[in-house]
Symmetry: C2
Subunit: 167 residues, 2 copies
């Protein structure tokens, strides 16, 4: 159920320490068709729309060789997520579960991970399918996936396996 | 080949912008048998040693429910890695590849991801197999993996697939 940053019944928020143990740099931006959380899919699909990952300078030369891989892992910053819930109610029904047992975007360090299908690279732009993040999501990293390129289990063996890596 | 932070022949370092776009909080610490990079394995093994993930307060209650999953994803901060190489020479032989085509720990945002096998949880301590990071690595996140619990492809189908997620 989509959350608009409210704390729900039985959820537990904490006073978290300042997030200052390490700093991130946004190395690009992800462009998707989804401009609000109400329409953003809960998980990506390999037959979903092609999304565009824009890599900023000075990191563009670091893409060299990525074209050899069919499947790439994408890390991004869930910039709209609150960070201070330790117990969450995914169904908003009063039942709560620990944040670490969920792939909810609400996390102490809101880093998203997805396995995406590489469609092409042009200059500093990487085209992929299989993402599920909102338009303008900040990019943290890209790397070849360790999922075998036949991808059988990741994409087809069970409903759970069809989730390409949503947090 | 283990790097002790030197820049090798033909590698390219950049002047990266300050890493101040977002802040991380270290939510725990990972205890492994490996106290130097010279002995840390390049990839984890499910029959490797049990490692101990210590979760700090106030996040311990967020572990509730994690015990239901055999396979968990672990995100951690590669605190010893330099961040400014865009072309790297993994074999130290003058041949270079782009950072994003590698799972090297040297990255603009040095976040490590591993799939680990859950062995048990006691209070704020999570016991797992399959990690490959150095002792005292800072913890960023834990969550259930989307890898199916039979884990066939991730662990056994090919040499590439046996890498449990090393960056």
């Amino acid at each position: 159920m989509v959350r608009e940053n409210e704390v729900r019944d039985a959820e537990v928020a904490i006073e978290a320490p300042a997030a200052s143990d390490a700093g991130l740099v946004f190395i690009g931006r992800i462009h998707t068709p989804w401009t609000s959380r109400l329409v953003t899919p809960r998980q990506g699909r390999i037959d979903g729309p092609v999304c565009r990952i824009e890599v900023f300078e000075p990191w563009v030369p670091a893409l060299r060789g990525l074209e050899a891989y069919a499947r790439i892992e994408v890390l991004y910053w869930l910039h709209l997520s609150r960070r201070n819930l330790i117990l969450q109610s995914p169904a908003n029904d009063g039942d709560v579960r620990g944040t670490f047992s969920l792939r909810s975007p609400v996390r102490p360090n809101p880093i998203g991970t997805s396995i995406a299908l590489l469609q092409g690279i042009e200059g500093g732009t990487v085209y992929v399918r299989g993402l599920d993040c909102i338009d303008d999501t900040p990019l943290l990293d890209l790397f070849r996936s360790v999922t075998p390129d036949n991808g059988a289990v990741m994409w087809t063996s069970s409903p759970k396996a069809q989730d390409p890596g949503r947090l």
